[in-house]
């Protein structure tokens, strides 16, 4: 298992904590939604950074109220054909304005990276880390998009009509360009 963030392989500093494991003294644990719902007040009071992993079917509105408590939100793709986490990601980024790490986990395949990135994922747990360049090249395969999503890239509509997408001044896309596959 490897983690891609900003075009690089990075060490994963988070650890998933099983529901029946007690809270550790070390930091950076990821818990399930079930645990969060069960121990919410304790976890809110607890000091350390916290991550949460949602399965497909566990709608993020369940954590909306305290979303800023989480430094990491991991959304699981049970199969790469399950499209629910794409909607969850946009919701988390665009409606809840979440700024922490939004990680794709589960069956994450190279050919879905671009869609995931557009929906707001910024970290990707992948199985085959062999050809990082090929993975990163996936982000650059299509360079312009019709529809608005969670990334800050101007859409075709905005470029056509020269509109500022954010109202804050256009920022160059933070896309990484891997070496050509």
């Amino acid at each position: 298992m490897a983690l891609i963030k900003a075009g690089k392989l990075v060490r994963d500093r988070w650890r998933f904590l099983a529901d029946d494991e007690s809270l550790p003294t070390e930091v950076s644990i990821v818990i399930s939604l079930e645990r969060w719902l069960r121990e919410q007040s304790a976890l809110l009071a607890w000091d350390a950074p916290l991550g949460i992993r949602l399965k497909a079917g566990q709608h993020p509105k369940a954590i909306a109220q305290h979303i800023e408590r989480f430094a990491l939100i991991a959304l699981e793709f049970p199969k790469f054909t399950d499209g629910r986490p794409y909607s969850y990601a946009r919701l988390v980024r665009q409606r809840y304005r979440y700024r922490g790490e939004l990680r794709a986990t589960g069956q994450v395949l190279r050919d879905q990276l671009l869609f995931m990135h557009r929906c707001g994922f910024d970290a990707f747990e992948i199985v085959d880390s062999d050809v990082l360049a090929a993975w990163c090249a996936a982000f650059a395969e299509i360079s312009v998009f019709y529809q608005r999503a969670a990334d800050r890239q101007p859409t075709v509509l905005e470029l056509r009509h020269r509109r500022d997408p954010t109202g804050e001044g256009y920022t160059a896309p933070a896309q990484t360009k891997g070496t050509a596959a």
Partner: protein, 551 residues
């Protein structure tokens, strides 16, 4: 018609490169078939009964002559010299090689065409009235919004892995020629207060295993809210559509199980919550797209057109063709010409490369370079001067494209069926051919009047048999092909699903059964009732008695 700008072109060019690389990775083993299959489906590549099959998008059925020539070239160079026009206004090639598909796509991109999302669990081709922009009494040209939706739905990152395929259709006239109510989402252009443009939105239509007529979710949606509202519907479907059962995964099942009131409430709530961050449709973009569909530079023609009446009087065959294959054009002195791809005894919807080239030439000479594809597997030349009709007819007759049967009994819609499709249980094309041969007599077809026969080779209903006036569903009974008859389906704004008449007929008996149904109609009809009118009035009983004997 819409012409790509640099952005549109860049997207399809990059898509070709992306797919070329995916094919390379499949052929060299980096991608397994399981990983590759959704990717090839998203580029219109099926693995079918005999070979791969490539479905190319013809957005809302509009083609330039140049594009049609390229399709002819592809048929010749990469396939077996013909193509098949489908019930969703697309074209299919039945024999491409996977290794050559990227080259085919590159050639298509050269003429602003693609095969993006013509398969797979995402948005499919947006279909529309094939008379859009040229028929009188149109509220607004639906192609404008079909193009808006095409762009918004292309490579949509949030909705590329839906529970199942998603089909949208739009109509801009009072008469629905796009079977809007049989779609996952259907749009009827409406006028609101102060003449503003909006849509009646219907959801949950569909054929297949469990057919439904779509229900209204919004009586009037203002134009500028089109995309944000569609996103709200899609988000509810993406979340709640079933992913555990392939046969219950369409939105029609979700709408049916929740009920339209609850579904509507969920969509309206989602729309209210998400309006600020989902898709927008600015007026300047609508205006920009609208300019592409401005009427062409028609000539000013004095009507009535001199000589046309005389020719009709002189030549009975020409008169018959005009009677059935010509539709009234909004521009004085012009006509909409239907090209029948239903020659008696041939495969419905098929055209050879030579025919395609010839039609492209005729389009240049007589139709301002434009052709349309209907969802009933025929073609249209939309901008023909009435003064040219006789010459055009003669040219079409030489190409076997002038069969005067549009809307009549031999204008049969048939899916490829077991001859081509690995999903099929029975053949459909030979049934269409035999029925057409039996019903070929033109005088009798005129007597029978408007009659829509639809044939599907399996329950997936790609032949749209549920909305056929006479619907035929091929089934397999212990290894033999049998055909179940339904009556009373209709695809227009007063849509209805056909009802099964009784036990299925053998391959030997089905043609006679169809004839029996027609005889019964002719015996029962009052005044100038069409088949569908008589059927709705008398119900199934007279037909049952004729087919199965009185009980």
């Amino acid at each position: 018609m819409y012409r790509y700008d640099d952005f549109d072109q860049r997207i399809i060019d990059e898509r070709v490169s992306q797919f070329r690389d995916q094919v390379r990775r499949r052929l060299n083993g980096e991608l397994s078939e399981e990983e590759f299959k959704p990717l090839r489906l998203m580029n219109g590549v099926y693995l079918q009964l005999h070979s791969y099959m490539l479905r190319i998008a013809i957005p809302y059925g509009v083609l330039s002559s140049r594009q049609l020539r390229t399709l002819a070239h592809i048929a010749r160079r990469y396939d077996k010299g013909y193509g098949h026009f489908t019930t969703r206004q697309n074209i299919q090639f039945h024999w491409p090689k996977l290794a050559e598909v990227p080259d085919i796509l590159a050639e298509l991109a050269g003429v602003q065409m693609h095969a993006i999302q013509t398969s797979g669990n995402s948005f499919r081709n947006v279909t529309a009235d094939h008379y859009a922009g040229v028929v009188a009494n149109e509220i607004e040209d639906p192609r404008i919004y079909a193009e808006v939706i095409r762009q918004w739905s292309t490579l949509h990152p949030e909705f590329s892995f839906l529970p199942r395929k998603f089909k949208i259709a739009i109509s801009g006239a009072t008469r629905d020629r796009a079977a809007v109510k049989t779609h996952d989402i259907g749009l009827f252009i409406r006028k609101g207060d102060g003449d503003r443009i909006g849509f009646e939105v219907v959801v949950g239509g569909g054929q297949g295993r469990t057919p439904f007529i779509a229900k209204t979710i919004r009586k009037f949606l203002p134009e500028q809210d089109l995309l944000s509202y569609l996103e709200a519907i899609m988000r509810v479907y993406n979340e709640f559509g079933r992913r555990d059962n392939l046969f219950k995964a369409r939105i029609k099942i979700l709408v049916h199980e929740l009920g339209i009131e609850k579904f509507t409430a969920m969509v309206e709530e989602e729309w209210a919550d998400s309006r600020d961050y989902t898709a927008t449709l600015p007026p300047d973009e609508i205006a920009r797209i609208r300019t592409h569909f401005a009427p062409p530079a028609y000539e000013s023609v004095a009507t009535p057109v001199v000589g046309l009446e005389a020719k009709r009087f002189e030549d009975r065959d020409f008169a018959r063709w005009v009677r059935h294959n010509i539709a009234a054009h909004r521009q004085p002195g012009y006509a909409i010409v239907n090209l029948s791809l239903k020659r008696i005894g041939e495969t419905p919807g098929d055209a050879t490369a030579e025919q395609m080239d010839a039609i492209a030439l005729l389009a240049d000479r007589y139709s301002l370079g434009e052709v349309r594809v209907t969802h009933e597997q025929n073609l249209v030349l939309p901008h023909v001067k009435q003064a040219d009709l006789s010459a055009l007819w003669q040219a079409l007759a030489r190409l076997d494209l002038a069969t005067p049967n549009i809307g009549l009994a031999t204008d049969i819609v048939a899916c490829p069926g077991l001859d081509y499709c690995s999903l099929a249980n029975a053949r459909s094309i030979p049934i269409a051919q035999r029925i057409a041969q039996r019903l070929a007599d033109l005088d009798r077809q005129e007597l029978t009047r408007e009659l829509r026969i639809n044939i599907s080779g399996c329950i997936n209903a790609c032949g749209h048999h549920h909305v056929g006036h006479i619907g035929i569903l091929g089934v397999d009974k212990q290894g033999e092909e049998f055909y179940q008859l339904t009556l009373g389906g209709h695809a227009e704004e007063d849509a209805s699903l056909g009802s099964i008449v009784g036990p299925a007929f053998s391959s030997d008996d089905i043609v006679g059964a169809v004839e029996g149904v027609i005889d019964t109609y002719l015996a029962e009809r009052r005044g100038d009732e069409r088949f569908i009118d008589t059927c709705r009035r008398v119900g199934l009983q007279p037909f049952k008695e004729r087919l199965y004997g009185a009980h």
